[in-house]
Symmetry: C2
Subunit: 127 residues, 2 copies
DNA sequence: GTCGCTGCTGGAGTGCACTCCAGGTCAAGG
DNA sequence: CCTTGACCTGGAGTGCACTCCAGCAGCGAC
């Protein structure tokens, strides 16, 4: 087989081996990762590609539960593309809302930083 | 007094009354909120302004622990402005990194969405 | 053949940020 | 008076997403 070990997989996708096992147990993957004769996991290219997509979804704040639903849809095969698309669209919208909110709050923080910088500048001048 | 009740405060800052009590107990506020004769909290304008700043920090992902450190600095009074500024700068940087990462991952998701939309378009055409 | 390493499983533990609850106080309304 | 409702306190409980652990198996190196 051409698969890689869980340690290598963890390295390439940027997760811990524990997290990879956890994702698999929790139904976030498309299938149980194939095992070698000794029972060790052997990750193939498609497994790694899927896990990278999962990290995209997770890194943008999609809850585990929704990733599981999406994985289930993909597992079920063709015919439910609209549902998958709806799920991704909904997520995209929530990410955009979150980005807008964070950006707005960041503006307030920047303002605060500006105030402190101004204050410290004055101190420096008077010193 | 001119203060407002915890319910009103919760309403205006967008947190629950429980969370406001929790923040106070946990040292995220500049001082214990003043009480009425009957022991009820009475939030004044400065309290509300500070809590709004706290929500800015929290909404941008600053951990409770760091908010507490920042509150402690402000409580300690003038003289540590550089430290406060450093804390805010560090936070700002981490928020920017996070925004960049989320935006990048969002791009990948958008790409995925594009693929599905294209696929569904073809189906529609052939129908 | 035994040492060390990597991996396996099931399940317990952790950290974070709330959220909920029991049991009680107080003030106003009927 | 008695009830109702908002609030009080200390402390327990919750949900999420991991993270760690004990105990065991296979495998290559020495």
């Amino acid at each position: 087989m051409t698969g890689v070990t869980i340690a290598e997989a963890a390295e390439t996708v940027g997760l811990s081996a524990d997290t990879l096992r956890y994702y698999e147990k929790d139904g976030l993957l498309l299938r149980p990762v194939p095992r070698s004769s000794s029972g060790h996991r052997s990750y193939g290219e498609p497994d790694l590609r899927w896990i990278k997509l999962v990290t995209c979804l997770r890194a943008t704040g999609m809850p585990i539960r929704d990733v599981r639903r999406y994985a289930a849809l993909v597992r079920d095969g063709e015919g439910n593309e609209e549902e998958r698309l709806a799920l991704l669209h909904a997520h995209r919208d929530s990410v955009l809302r979150e980005l807008a909110e964070v950006t707005a709050h960041l503006g307030a923080i920047d303002h605060k930083i500006g105030i402190y910088e101004h204050k410290l500048e004055l101190v420096e001048q008077s010193a």
